[in-house]
């Protein structure tokens, strides 16, 4: 393991107002970082800043060989767009000059069937849509996957499957994962590090050691009701 990402004194302002203040943390290769925090705490902004989409002050240092894959929060795709998963994936493959065999690989890796390629994106179920976004992110062989609440629009069984898929990808392709989540059970199950964010860094470290009731109370401004019964959940390797 070596240092894969170093963030030092990061401040991000939108319209003159600081959304993230003086944030520092670091991450090693192969880790799974969960970013948690209340609404408006700067989680999505942090992800976009790490992707290089927003201007910032401070330092963000990625390892030299980094290839980022991004799965955004639910996209309000126009249901009437005549664009299929295949159109979308082929467009990225051509735009980036990747080999065309990447499309089939990404579709299989994301747990989608070949048949679904011809379905317009507006007609996909929540779970299929999320997998399509993951397939899109997997084109170009990323070694870091950044996901913004990937299960926000999915029912519970689907949610578990998506988390399982992310975990599987991480294992198989030796990926580092940075994931924004509301779901603390996910954090305990899969995350190796957790970053509690509320504009500033409230906690950072391994979930079992870091997420004390007082930290969670401080973060969410009240006791987190399902904290105790999930604390004993078995962490996957």
């Amino acid at each position: 393991m070596f240092r894969f990402l170093g963030v030092e004194n990061l401040t991000v302002s939108l319209d003159g107002e600081a959304v993230i203040k003086d944030l520092s943390f670091e991450l090693n290769q192969g880790e799974n970082l969960a970013i948690i925090g209340p609404n408006g705490s700067g989680k999505t902004v942090l992800l976009k800043t790490l992707l290089g989409l927003l201007p910032y002050q401070g330092e963000i240092k990625w390892a030299e060989n980094v290839r980022l894959g991004y799965v955004p929060q639910k996209i309000d795709a126009d249901r009437h767009l005549p664009i299929t998963i295949q159109n979308l994936l082929s467009a990225k493959v051509r735009a980036l000059g990747l080999p065309f065999s990447e499309v089939a690989r990404a579709i299989t890796s994301a747990g989608l069937t070949e048949k679904i390629q011809k379905t317009p994106v507006g007609h996909l179920s929540g779970g299929q849509f999320q997998r399509a976004l993951i397939a899109f992110a997997l084109l170009g062989h990323p070694n870091v996957l950044l996901l913004d609440e990937p299960t926000a629009s999915i029912d519970e069984p689907g949610e578990a499957q998506i988390y399982e898929l992310i975990h599987e990808l991480q294992d198989k392709e030796d990926m580092t994962v940075i994931l924004v989540s509301h779901d603390l059970s996910f954090v305990y199950r899969y995350a190796t590090k957790v970053l509690c964010l509320n504009k500033i860094n409230i906690c950072f470290g391994a979930p079992e050691e870091t997420l004390t009731p007082s930290v969670l109370e401080n973060l969410y401004g009240g006791p987190r009701k399902y904290y105790h019964h999930i604390h004993n959940g078995n962490k996957h390797a």
Partner: protein, 256 residues
């Protein structure tokens, strides 16, 4: 049919094909209305061309270029005032153009078009512009598709979305410019919007949509030309009415 008419028809058909192609993307981008307003921005340019006795394409082209930049800046801001600003630009362009043009006959030509006689450079420019639009859209199509789906995802894929939008507006302006001669400023946008809307009703895949949009646009010009000749009607309005007819038929098809 005279040689002049044949050249004009070839020019109109190539312009229509470009309009159909760019129209399909404009429809998906939902920039149809902003684009339609852009054609009106040509009117003050046409007026200035009349006053200074320069080629109308130069005058129209200059104000269209200005309009593209203006709408590009406005589109970056997603406030409600954008629509209001576009409305103001539309109304003031028509009014300013009307004042500048002065003569009623020339105003009607500027608004509704007409073939007139076409010079060799105009013919060459028109064909080159149409080919350039189609080739450029073909080259940009992958980035446009990703941008249509999600501008955010496009940025994360290292696509410069702002620049892409500017390119699109400039190509849109070029398409309007090549249609300005025979459709006029009021109707030049119609050949971009109407066939694409009909094609969207009739097709389910991206490739078929773009192709059908271009085909219906070309057919509107061909039938419009034949009907306007047979019944001695103005060409521009006839072409647009034929395109609207295709759209009406496409609505029937959807219900079957």
């Amino acid at each position: 049919m005279t040689i002049g008419e044949i050249y004009s028809l070839i020019l109109a058909i190539s312009g229509a094909a470009a309009a159909g192609v760019i129209g399909s993307f404009a429809l998906m981008k939902r920039t149809v209305i902003a684009g339609d307003v852009m054609s009106h921005i040509a009117i003050p340019g046409l007026g200035l061309a009349v006053i200074w006795s320069i080629n109308p394409l130069v005058g129209g082209g200059a104000t269209l270029l200005l309009g593209s930049m203006l709408i590009w800046h406005l589109e970056k801001k997603t406030t409600l005032s954008t629509e209001a600003a576009i409305g103001v630009i539309f109304a003031s362009s028509v009014a300013l153009g009307a004042l500048l043009i002065g003569s009623n006959e020339e105003l009607i030509d500027a608004l509704f078009g007409g073939f007139g006689s076409i010079s060799a450079p105009e013919f060459a420019f028109g064909i080159a512009a149409s080919v350039a639009v189609i080739v450029a859209i073909w080259m940009l199509k992958d980035k446009l598709i990703i941008g249509l789906f999600s501008p955010e995802l496009a940025s994360a894929t290292k696509i410069n979305v702002g620049l892409l939008n500017l390119w699109f507006l400039l190509l849109f302006s070029l398409t309007i410019l090549s249609g300005l001669r025979f459709l006029g400023a009021l109707l030049a946008g119609a050949l971009i919007i109407v066939p694409a809307s009909a094609a969207r009703q009739l097709t389910h895949s991206l490739g078929a949509f773009i192709f059908t949009s271009a085909l219906l646009s070309v057919l509107s010009v061909v039938f419009g030309f034949l009907i306007s000749r047979a019944y001695n009607l103005d060409l521009g309005p006839t072409v647009v009415v034929v395109a609207a007819g295709f759209f009406a038929l496409s609505l029937l098809k959807k219900k079957v």
